[in-house]
Subunit: 690 residues, 2 copies
């Protein structure tokens, strides 16, 4: 699944910058800079301003995902996997909506998803010149303060007087461009339809990021205003006909994050160190969670969601590693880098300005190799997934940081973020002791193992205790599960923290100096030099390629183009379509290949020849989940929900030969709504737009 | 630990051949071809024939390990980890010798290790010319038959009339040389002394293959003949003085297996595919076993040994991956390959004879990438560690193969191996149902995951069942735990197998065609072409470098030279010594850093300054465990028991900068025998040789 993914300790330097000159179908283009001429030449499709405006006005951003408006009455299409939080929320002891889905017959039955929002982009304003003017001659904290003052003022100005507006500045091309995005935000989002989990995620983890595929990974929401369905005249027309091979496809949506400007030496560090270590640790933890779940039904329920997330993350990095281990992929990255370096070298003035950032980054990789394990185990991955640990560290650090001026603090404790941090650290939340201990013990075991050649860091984490004994002592002794205890520590500041006898607080206090030192070394020797060098690489690209390139993904609206196509890998040809009939052939009756009862009952009445899922060449990534897939006329022919395993290398570069998006067709959604679920009113709304 | 390791599905082509021209201290040299001149030049030590003879006559081979004679009364030094099987065997419900060690006060207390043997090499005979003459013009089965006839005759001749002699032909330099080794075999081996597990393996898995280190990984055996201690006038003198930095060290022993002739493209396949997949699966299984052991004390005992073995294997491949991910290491391999290719190209006659084996192997890597996962999951790693599965497959295949002439069978069922196979398949052995199911389920889960892009193979393994359901059904239903059932299936042959209703037999029958097909594809497309090409690379090396090179390890007697030295990695200098005092500083009281009670009691009386463990540059590998480390005078100054993490890359090439052997010093062994264990008679025997 291609939700936005948190990368944990992996992102040494987040490079939000532009990529290389694009190859066929490559690119997550801004609407302002869409390569219409190229699309015309390649596909014969005319993409004019009106066409773009229609798409933009119907494209929707929801938390972590994308979506689209598909009727004049606020109906919104997205993926089932994007709204599982709401399904859990709406469930009760009697009714498990995640498992069984949601069917509504009338709008009165549409229930609100608490906290959910949906945004439509209304306007973008380029404020690059104002920012440049304000920061001129400044650096460090003064630079940041000046930049933030300009962007805050611009956001306030753009959103002035409109309650439902939300404004947010995004830096594109790594500071090459600053843009204020003004969204219309819908804060009342209700659930209209969701299929069963077994239908939405048929094939489960084994089929995740693979194809052929048979997933009804779709759901419908409706945005409301003033207690009524919002009026949304600018919607995308629903097309229930099957797509054809080679047909052009366009995907507006919000790709979350790419790192296509990484140098080859950085990719090698990911390939040889960061990703493998993360994957090995993830694998061992996966084994532990699976086995823990074998104890009984209660344990099985407890680990279901953690396993789900862990397996998705594992698959993502498996795909990335796969790309980085692919000789052709790395050769292409090497060629791109060599080309840019040659062009820079050919221009003495530019070469003088740019220097040798590639060499600087390559040298920073030595520090990467030296510092990574300590940084990971003591800082970025400390405590693994233990909520208790993250609270304890947050409370200890917040107390220390709040005694300093905002500008001198660790950035996550700056004044502007303090309220959010307090909410996070003091909120009530259910704690599962056995799982907490499992996470802590696993982290401590791996720290002991991976810090074997850094005895001082090993000792900072474990002292003279064993992973088993220490984790048991911390989890059984801590009272941090109680929100009042945490609130008192927050309110009491450093004095309260130092006076606390809570074992987890004392433990974090004891190891924090070593953890901060590991972070400082990482920022000083790896992140800092890498950021400085990467900025000059970005500048070089601007100088050489101009705006024939697209910015790295930033979870803002982009448009991708491509076509319906399969692929061929190692002699095996994968056709781009599956049919509804295929899911019955694939079904075994055992999870994750067990059909929902509704589908078993409907088998005889379904048209099995209808295209179910299909693949296209569109260049998308996590955050694009739920994006509408539209044809040349701008009609919805499906919802993007996944990529193939090769698409995961898309984080670092687009491979036109292998990278494929996976879509559930409008045709199949329509057929299922009609035949399996009997949602005639919803089908009518889709077909008529009303 | 550096016991001989079974590589499972990893070894595509076992290349028992010679390596590149040796760098400083590199080489596992035969005694016949020891580079004495080089040692004289580098270390000023004169290694003459008498010196070599003395070493050779005291060097001992035991199952999977090495050892040495250290008194005239048959006393043998080796590692504790080499004789754990005997310790378990000698234990009873009252006494756990693996945990508590063995102390004997008199020879009457020395108990026999059943099945244990010890061999001293007496003579080697080069029969290359006879073999060459016999096989001339032959190929395939005729070639093998002719070769085997010559070697069998030569072995019989060499061992004629000597009951205790054992003769074995080994092919060195990948068939470049055939040598009959005649050993004197001691079949009555008794236990004299072993320390506690906590003392021998202090630091456990976290410190395994690391340094600093504090392990008394030593043990003493005694060889007997005619019920009395054997007379062994040719023994190594014991030296209880501490080694010095830079002091030359020599290690006679039996390195098990190296693959130093692999081409760069093969190493890349290991690095990018085979090792990572194996490690990820090992990690997940490790997590499962750890978590299974958390259920209770009985479960913890059950998984202790499987975890121990799994973690050792994991560490070995972690080190190998580390080397393969090291740019300098791979660059050195590339340079060596380029040099040889250039020398071949410069000699037209040789080039014509050799062709382009490197290109052929590189092309075979494409087949490797295509076939590996199916070959691994269906064939080489099928059933994972399930004993029941391996019995079922063995019985099914033996029945099928025995219907063919011997020469046409899968080689493991040739007439010469059939008796051994029958013993394996019909022996009584305790079966742990839950562990069997865990292994099978894990294997099935991973097969489903890794065969996602080979649906036919996936279906062959799982049918329409789930991993959980299928493994439960097979383990609960099978009766193969009963040796009588297996014997009946063996005796009844194919008719009995086909008539069996045992679910495991039926399951294996059903998937065997797919498994055999995966194996056939692997042998045809990967192993075959690789073997044929590698043979020509070996020939090219002979032609270019002659006998200035040493053969790949073959678990036969070799001699390595080097010196006491630490190393520097990423700016961190590791000194080559630890002291007895260090183990008390390192101890935490919690396993694996808990001291044995005997050491705690002795702390005040021990000389803490004595060197405990030390590192040297000697080039050794698994199989060398227990080897004596001798000084220039040929005196024992320690027992080799491990390598550092970098030494694990030694499977593919020796790195003089980082590759280090880890030794427990004679000085520390002597101090512990005296002060901790009060073994005065043993100390006296060591010091006087009597």
């Amino acid at each position: 699944m291609i939700r936005v993914l948190t990368l944990g300790g992996l992102v040494g330097a987040a490079l939000f910058t532009m990529a290389s000159p694009a190859s066929a179908d490559e690119g997550m283009w801004t609407f302002e800079n869409f390569p219409a001429a190229r699309v015309k030449a390649d596909y014969g499709v005319t993409v004019d301003e009106a066409w773009l405006q229609r798409l933009r006005g119907a494209a929707v951003r929801i938390p972590g995902c994308s979506a689209s408006v598909v009727s004049a009455a606020g109906l919104v299409l997205t993926n089932n996997h994007c709204i599982t939080g709401c399904l859990v929320q709406l469930s009760s002891a009697d009714k498990d909506h995640l498992k069984d889905g949601v069917l509504t017959a009338t709008r009165a039955e549409e229930r609100q998803c608490a906290g959910m929002w949906a945004e439509v982009l209304m306007e973008t304003t380029d404020i690059t010149d104002q920012v440049r003017a304000a920061v001129a001659g400044k650096s460090g904290a003064a630079f940041n303060a000046a930049r933030d003052a300009v962007t805050a003022a611009a956001e306030a100005e753009a959103c002035k007087g409109v309650e439902s507006a939300r404004c947010q500045t995004t830096s594109l091309y790594r500071g090459g461009q600053y843009v204020v995005y003004r969204y219309h935000r819908y804060s009342d989002v209700r659930m209209v339809f969701a299929p069963e989990f077994a239908t939405a995620f048929f094939g489960g983890d084994p089929d995740n990021f693979n194809f052929p595929r048979y997933d009804m990974d779709s759901a419908f929401l409706r945005v409301y205003e003033g207690g009524k369905p919002a009026k949304t005249p600018n919607f995308l027309k629903w097309n229930a006909a099957a797509p054809k091979a080679g047909e052009p496809t366009f995907v507006p949506g919000n790709p979350g994050s790419t790192e296509r400007l990484l140098t080859v030496s950085q990719l090698e560090s990911y390939r040889d160190l960061a990703i493998p270590v993360g994957q090995l640790q993830r694998s061992e933890l996966r084994g532990r969670l699976i086995e823990y779940g074998r104890r009984g039904p209660a344990e099985k329920r407890l680990v279901a969601d953690p396993i789900f997330n862990l397996e998705n993350g594992f698959k993502v990095f498996f795909g990335r590693q796969f790309a980085l281990n692919d000789k052709a992929f790395m050769d292409a990255k090497r060629d791109q880098e060599a080309e840019l370096r040659a062009k820079v070298a050919a221009d003495p003035a530019l070469a003088g300005e740019i220097g040798d950032p590639w060499g600087e980054i390559a040298r920073a990789q030595e520090a990467y190799a030296t510092s990574y394990l300590s940084y990971r185990q003591l800082e970025s991955d400390a405590g693994r997934s233990s909520v208790l640990f993250s609270w304890a560290r947050g409370l200890v650090r917040a107390a220390a940081e709040r005694e300093k001026p905002s500008a001198e603090r660790l950035p996550e404790f700056a004044d502007s973020r303090l309220a959010m941090e307090e909410r996070r650290l003091t909120a009530a939340r259910a704690i599962e002791g056995p799982l907490e201990q499992l996470y802590l013990e696993h982290w401590l075991l791996k720290s002991r193992e991976y810090l074997a050649s850094s005895p001082a860091d090993q000792a900072a984490v474990l002292g003279r205790e064993s992973p088993e004994g220490l984790s048991a002592r911390l989890v059984s002794g801590t009272r941090l599960a109680d929100p009042a205890v945490r609130q008192a520590l927050w309110d009491g500041g450093m004095a309260a923290v130092l006076a606390s006898e809570d074992p987890l607080i004392r433990y974090v206090l004891q190891m924090d100096a070593a953890a901060r030192a590991a972070r400082a070394a990482w920022e000083r020797d790896v992140e800092g030099p890498t950021d400085r060098a990467a900025e000059r690489i970005a500048r070089a690209r601007f100088a050489v390629y101009g705006d024939s390139i697209y910015p790295d993904a930033t979870f803002t609206l982009r448009l991708s183009y491509g076509k319906v196509a399969g692929w061929t890998h190692r002699g095996t040809e994968v056709t781009p379509f599956t049919t509804i009939g295929g899911t019955f052939d694939r079904a075994t009756g055992e999870a994750p290949y067990a059909l929902a009862p509704s589908w078993i009952a409907a088998e005889g009445r379904l048209n099995k020849d209808i295209v179910y899922n299909f693949t296209t060449t569109n260049d998308i990534i996590g955050g694009n989940s739920g994006s509408p897939v539209v044809n040349a006329k701008g009609e919805v022919i499906g919802a993007a929900f996944d990529g193939n395993i090769h698409s995961l290398g898309g984080a670092y570069g687009y491979d036109p030969v292998l990278n494929r998006m996976v879509v559930v067709s409008s045709a199949a959604i329509t057929e299922a709504l009609r035949v399996v679920y009997g949602r005639d009113a919803l089908v009518k709304e889709l077909m008529t737009g009303k």
